[in-house]
């Protein structure tokens, strides 16, 4: 302990920590109040979800880290992350979670929140536009394949108008409209 007035500042480091006061402590409540979020706080970060995930090695944030980020209040980082959209929704994380956290469903909730805030990736929006415009994602264009199989050219019972109008008048339509 020095008696002088001289202020010695904190030691210089290259570390730039995340300032907890800038995060959103209500984010965890936003998620846990959604239908799938009840068990969110039960997460004890064992990382079983990440062990189960078939694609997490491609991600910057692993599934257990995304749940940690929700609990810490890293709202912007989670809702603008690519990972929640790249989730295969295979539900293996949710099946294996020892604390019954609905991991995959929570990512769905995150996608819904992200969509409300306009954070939908371009490629997903493009898919939405295709659905709204064409009523289907995969058009049958190679008629010769059906012909080779002795099938009639039109897919029987395919009704795209109904799908189109439902999607147009619900959120998908709105997102596509806003995106344009």
């Amino acid at each position: 302990m020095t008696e002088t007035e001289e202020k010695t500042g904190p030691p210089v480091t290259l570390i730039d920590p995340i300032d907890m006061t800038k995060l959103d402590p209500k984010f965890r409540n936003d998620i846990s109040s959604m239908p799938n979020g009840e068990e969110l706080s039960a997460c004890f970060a064992c990382s079983t979800c990440t062990a189960a995930c078939p694609i997490a090695n491609q991600w910057d944030y692993m599934p257990h880290q995304l749940i940690r980020m929700i609990l810490l209040g890293m709202r912007d980082e989670v809702l603008s992350s690519k990972e929640i959209w790249e989730c295969l929704t295979c539900f293996q994380c949710q099946e294996r979670c020892p604390q019954k956290v609905r991991v995959t469903d929570i990512f769905f909730d995150c996608k819904n929140l992200a969509a409300e805030e306009g954070h939908v990736p371009e490629n997903v929006l493009a898919l939405g536009k295709t659905l709204v415009d064409k009523g289907q994602l995969y058009e049958v264009i190679n008629d010769w394949e059906r012909e080779d199989l002795d099938l009639e050219p039109e897919v029987p019972g395919l009704s795209i108008e109904g799908i189109q109008s439902i999607l147009k008048s619900t959120r998908t339509g709105k997102l596509v409209e806003d995106g344009e």
Partner: protein, 416 residues
């Protein structure tokens, strides 16, 4: 006529052993170096796993009367117990089964049989203190180092003449058949682990210090306030394994600090509504039945960060900036907290070494080790020497009670 049993330490384990021996007709001398018995448990506020005041310890539960009386009736009214407070062991000689123990009896400034806790002395002098309204024996204590002009006045005016300021230290030699070591544990003062600033920064405290702050009978009447300026605490951070599981200090796991950290985090988040708690840990070890504390704490919204602290900096407004490495996120986090609570290692009590060597007992990292490490009789420390509770290593209340009962059973079998 058989010699009495000497129980050293009147905490949960020592009291249980003494009560149960006495109830079985065995004369028991129960000594404690403090003037108030109860040991560490006295300072826990709520003891897990029942969250009760610990006075209702198992050995007393069946006694009639209201809860506080369970305890008092045993310690004061059981004729087979000879309770000596302010007393230390000075020397042990003799042979197993017939030990000769020299006891150092501190000056008895206040006679507990006369003190009525009227409060006159504590009003006129700083030297008198009522440790707790439930303290046992029910008497104030006197600290000669704090003596002032009021002390003499208190002695003169004490309505029951319970105070004798000229009391002197005395010595007594007792012959006992068995010795029960129930000397408990001590919470390490973690100033040596200097990255946390304990002892330098007033808002860095230990778990037992926090327990006393949370106790409604404590100095702040249960309010969670910053020691530096008395401001309301909004953000609390706890750090686990400070000095435990660390080859530089104590290599063993202190075993119960996770549960008491969780217990305190629960109390703070459920009873002190505006406060937020973060716990920085390496592993949360809630052994036995205590997993529920962890689950409840997570449900209560307590933030768990697996990682370690990089540094603690005091800010001008009295808060502390704590930089933490979150090993799960692989990122550094900066918290601003009012109170930093260290879950410090639980170490053997002072003079444990002397006791071990004077009786020729095995040491287990400084605690009492079993005489035969291979046998399952962990409470048997030597011939006619037993140990229970924290003296064997950090232990919770039920475990201390079980071990004390095991000791009693061994002694009774030996006397058959």
């Amino acid at each position: 006529m058989t010699d009495p049993v000497l129980v050293i330490g009147a905490g949960v384990a020592g009291m249980t052993a003494a009560v149960e021996l006495a109830d079985n007709g065995v004369k028991t001398i129960l000594i404690d170096r403090k003037s108030t018995i109860g040991g560490n448990a006295l300072e826990l506020y709520k003891a897990f796993p029942t969250d009760d005041c610990f006075y209702c310890f198992e050995g007393n539960r069946w006694r009639p009367g209201i809860r506080k009386c369970f305890y008092r009736s045993a310690m004061v009214d059981q004729p087979n117990i000879d309770l000596k407070t302010d007393t230390r062991v000075k020397g042990i000689s003799g042979t197993p089964g017939k030990f000769s123990v020299i006891l150092d009896l501190g000056p008895q400034y206040v006679d507990p049989k006369r003190c009525t806790l009227c409060g006159l002395c504590t009003n006129v002098s700083e030297a008198f203190l009522l440790a707790s309204p439930q303290c046992q024996p029910q008497a104030v204590s006197y600290d000669p180092e704090k003596t002032d002009d009021g002390a003499k006045k208190a002695e003169d005016e004490c309505p029951t003449q319970a105070i004798n300021l000229s009391a002197i230290q005395t010595e007594e030699t007792v012959t006992v058949s068995d010795i029960v070591i129930a000397t408990g544990y001590h919470e390490m003062k973690p100033s040596v682990v200097d990255e946390y600033g304990y002892g330098k920064l007033p808002n860095v405290i230990t778990q037992l210090e926090l327990a006393q702050m949370l106790d409604p009978n404590g100095e702040s009447a249960g309010a969670l306030v910053r020691p530096s300026d008395g401001a309301q605490v909004k953000n609390v951070m706890m750090i686990q394994c400070v000095g435990s599981r660390d080859e530089n200090y104590y290599p063993f796991c202190s075993k119960i600090c996770c549960v008491f950290a969780l217990k305190h985090a629960n109390i703070i988040s459920s009873e002190r509504n505006d406060s937020r708690v973060s716990v920085v840990y390496m592993d949360i070890r809630t052994y036995d039945q205590h997993e529920r504390y962890y689950r409840e704490t997570r449900d209560a919204g307590v933030e768990f960060v697996r990682g370690r602290v990089s540094r603690v900096e005091s800010q001008k407004d009295g808060t502390l900036d704590v930089h933490v490495y979150d090993s799960l996120l692989n990122r550094y986090l900066k918290f601003t907290v009012d109170l930093l609570v260290l879950s410090s290692a639980l170490e053997p009590p002072e003079a444990a070494d002397e006791l071990l060597s004077s009786l020729g007992l095995n040491s287990a990292s400084g605690y009492v080790g079993p005489a035969d490490p291979i046998s399952e009789n962990e409470v048997v420390a030597g011939e006619h020497v037993y140990a229970c509770g924290g003296a064997l290593g950090p232990a919770e209340v039920p475990e201390s009670v079980n071990q004390a009962r095991a000791v009693v059973s061994k002694i009774l079998q030996g006397r058959k």
